[in-house]
């Protein structure tokens, strides 16, 4: 079967089993290894990508279901020399990175969240992180970074989603 979709803004086609998880196409065929395959069961969130602007775990997304969709990976969120997405910049500023393997998934999950929830409270941010596990940091600095990101956007009178690809 042939599946055609957009990947980070470019047309892309896949020939093969439509049940192949999207994460495997990204990592093994496109070498977009920023998307991490950690639990492969939808619990950890490390493989989160955007499919038509919605954050989804790519391990649970059969490639056949992205026919005609726009897929954005971490590599497409701020590519080349582009500035970091404001959430990435806040995560860096909060010293929220340790081993770093959860980071791309956290960025993809929460970049959609901050776009859609400009007034989220700290408990709401934590609730939104139920699908993202971090084994290193103990979470609080990640929550700080999300809160800072929303704060800055509110002060600037912008939505964080404006920068979303």
């Amino acid at each position: 079967m042939v599946v055609t979709f957009q990947l980070n803004g470019e047309d892309c086609s896949f020939h093969g089993d439509p049940m192949t998880p999207l994460v495997d196409i990204l990592r093994r065929e496109r070498f977009l290894t920023g998307t991490k395959a950690v639990c492969r069961e939808g619990f950890c969130g490390a493989c989160t990508v955007h499919v038509d602007d919605e954050a989804v775990p790519s391990c649970l997304k059969p490639i056949g279901l992205v026919q005609g969709c726009a897929v954005t990976t971490i590599e497409g969120l701020s590519s080349g020399n582009q500035a970091l997405h404001p959430l990435q910049a806040n995560l860096e500023a909060a010293d929220a990175v340790q081993c770093g393997m959860c980071c791309p998934g956290i960025v993809m999950s929460l970049s959609a969240f901050v776009r859609d929830n400009p007034h989220a409270s700290r408990p709401e941010i934590k609730a939104a992180m139920v699908g993202n596990i971090c084994r290193c940091t103990g979470y609080e600095r990640i929550v700080d970074a999300v809160a800072d990101c929303l704060d800055q956007a509110r002060k600037a009178g912008q939505s964080v989603g404006g920068l979303h690809v």
Binding site: R27, R28, L32, T33, G34, T35, K36, V38, C39, R40, E41, F43, C44, A46, T73, I74, E75, L77, S78, L84, Q88, L91, E92, D95, A96, V97, Q98, C99, G100, M101, C102, C103, P104, V107, I125, K126, A127, M129, V130, N132, I133, R135, C136, T137, G138, Y139, E140, R141, I142, V143
Partner: protein, 782 residues
Amino acid sequence: MSELSATVMNLPRRDAQDKLRGRTKYTNDRVRPDMLHAVLLRSTVSAGRIRKLDLSAALRCPGVRAVATGADAPGLYGIGIADHPLLAIDTIRYHGEPIAVVAAETEKQARAALAAIVLEIEPLAPVSTMAEALQPAARLVHEGWRGYEVITEGGARAGNIAWEAKSSRGDVDAAFARPDIRIVESSFTVGRQSHVPFEPRVAIGSWEDGRAHIQTSTQVPWTVRNVTGRVMQLAPGRVRVTVPPVGGGFGLKFDASIEPITALLARMTGRTVVLENTRQEEMATCLCRENAEIRIRSAVTAEGYIAGREAVVLMDCGAYGGEQVFLTTMTAHTLGGNYRVGATRLVSRAVYTNTPPNGAFRACNGVYNTFALERHTDEICDALGFDPMEFRKKNVLGDGDLGATGQVFEADVLGPMLDRMETLRASTGTSEAKADSRLYGIATTVGTWFVFVGPSAATVNLNADGSATLVTSGVEIGSGTMVQSLPQIVAGQLGLAPDQVIVREADTDAAGLDVGVGGGRTTVSIGAASIAACAEVREKLLRTAGEMLQTRPEDLVLRDGRVEITGRPGSGMSIPAVVAHAQATTGPITGSGAFAARNTPAMSGCAMGHFIDALDIPVFVVHEAEVAVDPDTGHVEVLAYRVVQDVGRALNPRAILGQIQGGVVQGLGYALHEEVTLTADGRIAQDDFETYRLPLAQDVVPVAADLYEGAPSMGPLGTKGAGEVPILAVGAAIGCAVARAIGKPVRQLPLTPPRVLRLLHEREPPPEFPHVAPGWALNTLG
């Protein structure tokens, strides 16, 4: 000290941007289409004998390039004792043990070939628990234990006791016979903890110019090199190990495991081979923090003096000795730490069972021994009517006090740290109001840990652009030492900015020996070696500059990228100018440095079978937890958490606070819901993220922390390791707080809601150890 002020800063991580952009290439991101994929045939029984292993059909499968078994790499490895084959040879000792490996063009082809291997195993009755293993008539997990090579001498061994370490100081029998004491006895049991690094164990092996090259996700490149040499019966120098950024370790990657298999297959095929554990394999064969059983008795006077103490600690090493053999040493320093004790004797035994082997995990051994010691301390206070905080203040180790092996501790550290905790609590306030109608508990606990020093080497090359290249065998596992403390240290020594210090990732062909990244040792040991290397660089740099400036080298200083005449800022010349001159005249400026443990003495005759008789650098913590227990559900909510940590000198306070938050949360998982159990057939039941309950964002609170500086340390600039120890006393603080909240003794972790409910309703049987003899000496090999 000017170099100190130039070193201490909240330097951000240089690897953060790439990690956040998904550009960092971990080992498992380096798989290329031309690599072979290896998969392992693993045992589905926990004990047995291999009766038939026929590879012929597998070798004929499409895409297969090699199939290997234990016969292809027959050397045994281990820590202390060489008891571990790379792939099972004749005997199966645990469920999940690798027996054979297939390398094929694709993973799918390799798995298809795996199914074509003919394997017949004659099952044996497994030795499933330490209680079974210690029965006089127990089957031996290692029938040939006597014949194993002993790598480190000194431990007593017998049958299913892989290793025994003892410490004994003073007349314990006399202390327990005193008329003025009360005896308090407690028993504790704890389960395993799985590390769950996001990057599983993975290696990429190739065979280059007659040598193995392994790229791998490890904390110990030199161990991987040496173990690969052992099992393949090669000189270790024929193995090169390089380490990309590591996606989490926490101790799991402090031993070699699957890495040598890739070298073996690369030699057989001439191709590059990747082997990566699936998540299920990773969790089912995790070298967990070991399950343990602890019995501790103390003789305490009415005034609160601990006249005598004795303990038996059983540590399940699983099917192979591994790290537990070494870790028996730690009981003397963890269970034997914290308090001033008159006479003491402790025995710690690593016991073989037919279960997946255990390993090292952040503050190994210390986490559960601290839980046991602190809960025992509270039971002493309950029995004798002491206030727990006052009892601790009165009895914590101070200047001149003796440890269990007779080591003399320097300076009052824990006492002032307890005072600092009270100050911290006063500043944050307490959270009792948040408990609402639930049961509230608060507990303050202490812990003793150390820095695992050991050898390190460093080379510093000073470049003509004013940058310096630091070459070590250090590995960045996430803790930040390679991107924060080490460049800060080198920059501070050489008058550079940290971004001018290039830090080479580990390559055993480029850097000297190193024990590895673990035990809180990197900043201390590699840092000290780096300072020694910088001293040689400085000496050469100042000598050259002195000639150029016609000034004595001792009148010169390095500051802001310049060699300046002391007291005359802006004088002299830039470092690049001096380096360029040296390169043209005396040669490039390089320096090398080395570091080794000081080997602080124990009291003669006190430590038996120990790998470390005394702690070169003790590290102390004070942890305080506030909890609310729901009496209807048994759920424990952590309301607040506070830490005072002995850091010696904080080079990067913000980075240390990040380690404390992360380490405490890992400890909360251990204390409350990370539970590993074994099925009836010896399998780890929790082998995925659905069944193993990791902490989530909603489970955690911001940890309030105070860094205690100034305790003595032989570490460079007065540092101590800061990343290992934050997990140390979490089980203790939570266990004590929950016990106080529910008014029942807590003697087991984790405190899952069902267990807490059983405790509340007095339906949780206390731990009983019929396999631990009533007399202490009967639990030793004499």
